[in-house]
């Protein structure tokens, strides 16, 4: 059986990639995908821990996260489409009107 620490390690790598993506990428859709990556990294850690401790609650959490992620996608894509319609670009740095 694969040791739990491997799963956790992969989860940490995925999470870091996602977080860095959110921080450095400018394309809104890529940023969005990176957020999904972070969520799934967390999911992986949850199911790994659930298997380790033979507890159901970790798996239940994963379902919750999936539902929330689906909702987030719906809202987030709607925002992205509206932003694109307004300024015809997906560069998040161009959305800086609130400054000053």
């Amino acid at each position: 059986m694969v040791p739990t620490s491997f799963y956790i390690l992969i989860s940490a790598v995925l999470f870091t990639i996602g977080a860095l993506g959110v921080l450095v990428r400018r394309n809104a859709i890529v940023v969005f995908m990176c957020v999904e990556l972070m969520l799934n990294a967390a999911n992986l850690a949850f199911v790994a821990a659930a298997r380790q401790y033979q507890a159901m609650s970790g798996q239940i959490f994963v379902f919750f996260v999936m539902v929330i992620a689906a909702a987030e996608v719906a809202v987030g894509l709607a925002i992205i489409i509206t932003v694109f319609r307004n300024r015809e670009t997906l560069d998040v740095d161009s959305a800086n009107q609130l400054k000053n």
Binding site: V22, L23, V92, D93, A95, Q97, K99, N100
Partner: protein
């Protein structure tokens, strides 16, 4: 009796009328707010009458009805109830307020129907709304059984007086007059407030019974020195008198009353002649136990009353505005009342309040009828000969004028003469009171002259202004009926308080007997002084005839205008008014420099620091996300390290 009508209804009826007229009155067509308001006061009058009959059926020495509605304030030692005291004194006052109040409401329906200052009638409902509120507060003032509740009524009538003087709020003079009335009254109210605080400190209660029991049983409480050697026994009545002088327009606080004539004439009749201005006399009479303890203050009151009576009578001679004459006359008559109060003749003072309410209300309403028919003209130099045009107004004005002049056998003769006799009698104790009495007779003489002159100038002789005369007409029945009732009253009510001659039947002293249980010193059963009576009688007749002769031949101003300077306005305008402005300017400077400075400092501090903090707002989403990530790492690290 199985069921008593609650006294609170006397207050609640006009209060309900106030609410109805105030909330939906503006949607009613013209006479209706007036009818509702008059009905409310009539209902109060009926309740008052029923309760007075209850009171009269009780034995003389226990004639007190007290009713408690609920506890109003209970904080520490201070406890004040909404509770009412109905004794012969408040009974007299409440009958004056609701009875004459009703007649004046009725009169107002006709008087306010055409208003050249408000042709569209938008203010009509508002007028009756304030008038009803006034009746409610005035009833509260006289029915209260403690000083605090009385003060609520006291302030309330001042407020209504302010609203009604400034009723025609587009007129500059009305606005100035209502502000003046309010501010001058505040000075008096301040005295009243201080007196209440002192009473509470000394007695620990503001209830009449507690206070007066304390005066009678434990006078040593009152010997506490408040200002050096001046004890509470002196200071409390002095401060109460300051309050009374403000409300009842005595020297030096009388200046607001003549200006208050800027309000509608029925308001002058109700508030500034019959009821509110006598509140001071009522308050001093109610507190008679406190005043009898301070003989110096009593003499002071008598002297102030005498001077007021004299100077106001002089000023009344000098004016040609029909309402101004009556206003100064009211000030003068209030002076007479305070003379009586000052010598402890409370029952007689209230008797004069009673007769004065009839004849002065009648005079004001009569002058209102004249002004109404002359389309707002108030200058007596333009009147004359109106007797032919306005029979009812003429006769009632004559009756009331004779009563004011102290013309035997009209009402004013009995009350005024009793006052002067009481003052002269009291002179055996303090010689200064003899001087007061003599000055009082001079003031009474002047009263007869200015009243006779006013009557003659308005109603007798030839018309001075043909055009005005042509248009003059008698007023409608809602105005003449109250005039007739008050005119008859001016003739007959004096017989309720005749001097104590052997041949006069018992009902001839009904008034003073009725009030006797209330006052520790009634001064009621004094032996009449025949010489004084005769002097009074001759003065009344002679002065009236002299005045009529003066008025008939009057062309232009009869009296030197310099007499008008008796008004203290000029003096105040160079002393207190500039001082007030200086204080206000200083306050403004402090406000603008310090208060505003602190506020602006706080504001600019927040502004400056936010400019510095704004640098962190880059508007790049990734910066915010980085801040969040770093924050999350720090929090996690803290947990791990711990």
């Amino acid at each position: 009796m199985p069921f008593d009508i609650p006294l609170a209804l006397i207050i609640l009826f006009p209060l309900a009328g106030f609410a109805v007229c105030g909330l939906i009155g503006s949607r009613m067509t013209k006479p209706w707010p007036g009818i509702i308001a008059s009905g409310a006061v009539l209902a109060s009058f009926i309740v008052a009458l029923i309760r007075v009959i209850d009171l009269a059926s009780m034995p003389q020495n226990v004639r007190v009805i007290s009713e408690t509605a609920y506890t109003w304030i209970s904080v520490g030692a201070l406890r004040s109830d909404i509770s009412f005291l109905f004794d012969p004194l408040s009974a007299v006052m409440i009958l004056i307020i609701t009875g004459i109040g009703f007649l004046i409401h009725l009169y107002s329906i006709g008087y306010m129907a055409e208003d050249h200052n408000d042709p569209e009638g938008k203010l009509y409902a508002r007028y009756f709304c304030w008038l009803n509120l006034f009746i409610a507060f005035m009833s509260l003032l006289v029915l209260a059984d403690n000083y605090l509740l009385m003060f609520v009524g006291w302030e309330g009538v001042g407020l209504c007086s302010y609203f009604l003087i400034g009723y025609w709020f587009k007129r500059e003079d009305a606005m100035a007059a209502c502000k003046k009335a309010f501010i001058v009254n505040r000075i008096g109210d301040f005295g009243f407030l201080l007196a209440m605080m002192l009473i509470f400190v000394v007695v620990g209660s503001l209830n009449y019974n507690d206070v007066f029991d304390a005066v009678r049983n434990t006078p040593q409480l009152f010997s506490v020195g408040i200002l050096g050697t001046i004890g509470a026994a002196t200071l409390i009545p002095l401060l109460l008198f300051v309050g009374a002088a403000g409300k009842s327009a005595q020297i030096p606080l009388f200046v607001w009353l003549p200006d208050a004539m800027a309000g509608p004439t029925p308001v002058s009749a109700l508030i500034h002649a019959a009821t509110m201005v006598t509140a001071g006399v009522y308050m001093v009479s109610r507190s008679s136990a406190l005043f009898l303890n301070a003989p110096n203050i009593q003499i002071l009151i008598c002297v102030v009353g005498t001077l007021t009576a004299l100077f106001a009578a002089l000023a009344a001679l000098a004016h040609t505005d029909i309402k101004k004459v009556l206003a100064y006359s009211t000030v003068s008559q209030l002076g007479f009342m305070f003379m009586a109060v000052g010598v402890g003749a409370y029952a007689i003072a209230i008797f004069h309040v009673f007769t004065h309410a009839f004849f002065k209300a009648c005079l004001f309403l009569g002058s209102g009828s004249v002004i109404h028919s002359l389309h707002g003209e108030q200058d007596m130099d333009k009147m004359g000969g109106l007797a032919k045009k306005m029979q009812i107004t003429n006769i009632t004005f004559l009756a009331a004028g004779l009563a004011l002049a102290g013309f035997f056998p009209f009402a004013g003769f009995f009350s005024k003469d009793e006052i002067l006799a009481a003052v002269i009698n009291a002179g055996s104790g303090a010689p200064i009171l003899i001087a007061c009495g003599v000055i009082g007779f001079i003031a009474a003489l002047l009263t007869g002259i200015y009243t006779g002159r006013q009557y003659a100038q308005v109603f007798l002789g030839d018309a001075r202004d043909e055009e005005l005369y042509e248009h003059a007409h008698e007023s409608g029945p809602t105005m003449t009926i109250p005039l007739i009732i008050l005119g008859i009253g001016s003739l007959v009510v004096g017989f309720l308080g005749m001097p104590h001659f052997v041949f006069i039947p018992a009902w001839g002293h009904a008034f003073t007997n009725w009030l006797e249980p209330v006052f520790s010193s009634g001064g009621a059963a004094e032996a009449p002084n025949v010489i004084l009576l005769l002097i009074g009688l001759l003065i009344g007749w002679g002065a009236w005839l002299g005045g009529v002769a003066l008025g008939k031949n009057a062309v232009g101003v009869i009296m030197p205008e310099s007499l008008r300077a008796v008004s203290l306005d000029a003096f105040y305008n160079i002393t207190i008014v500039p001082a007030g402005f200086a204080i206000a300017a200083a306050c403004r400077w402090i406000d603008e420099t310090f208060i505003d400075g602190i506020v602006n400092l706080v504001g600019s501090f927040v502004g400056e620091s936010s400019v510095a903090l704004r640098a962190t707002q880059t508007s790049y989403v990734r910066n915010y996300a980085l801040a969040m990530a770093v924050g999350a790492v720090i929090v996690l690290a803290w947990f791990v390290v711990k």
